[in-house]
């Protein structure tokens, strides 16, 4: 089945220690998104890739970076995690043609704990 896969499902890191979360998709969608979701809140968009074009949200801290080496994979790098970065990180994909963006499909998320 076509899907969005996130690894690992649970990640524990130490304060200040860089961490990378990964996302892959078999949907062949051209847009990939990273969201941060804290408990009982709506997902907050960090950035997205439209094909190879990176689009950062204005309020996304510089501590968060992303890479998309090919259509299928996208990575979220947190350079120096703080306690406030502990959250669920959701990856999503969609197909966009011209100005029309279709449904976003989400992965299961990676729960990040910062000690």
């Amino acid at each position: 089945d076509a899907m969005v896969i996130q690894n690992p499902r649970y990640q524990v890191t130490q304060f200040g220690k860089p961490v990378t979360l990964s996302c892959s998709q078999t949907l062949n969608h051209n847009v990939m998104y990273w969201y941060q979701q804290k408990s009982s809140q709506a997902p907050k968009l960090l950035f997205h890739y439209y094909d190879k074009d990176f689009n950062n949200e204005a309020d996304t801290p510089d501590n968060f970076q992303s890479r998309r080496p090919n259509t299928s994979f996208c990575f979220l790098d947190i350079r120096s995690p703080g306690l406030g970065d502990a959250a669920m990180y959701l990856c999503a994909t969609s197909r966009t043609t011209g100005l029309v963006t279709d449904t976003q499909y989400f992965g299961p998320g990676t729960r990040l704990t910062v000690l």
Binding site: Y33, Q41, A42, M88, A92, T101, F106, P108
Partner: protein, 111 residues
Amino acid sequence: AQTVTQSQPEMSVQEAETVTLSCTYDTSESNYYLFWYKQPPSRQMILVIRQEAYKQQNATENRFSVNFQKAAKSFSLKISDSQLGDTAMYFCAFMIGRMRFGAGTRLTVKP
């Protein structure tokens, strides 16, 4: 500003009964998509139903249906014959360029 408002932070319903979750939004655009997503305690966000704004007919997916009132900018979700597995956080969202989510409604289905 393009915003989504879910005015019911929490709701509960008895198993087999019907419940309606409300959602209003604000946009000056005329063409967009509207969505309801479900997020169970396992936390994976699952698409429940999708509505294209230019379609007047309300979307239906099995026990889930919407009441889309474009002029009123209202997009409510009706769940019929509620099941225990419907217990989840429900997010209303609309997409114009980027997805805008409401704050969510936590629905509990009671046996």
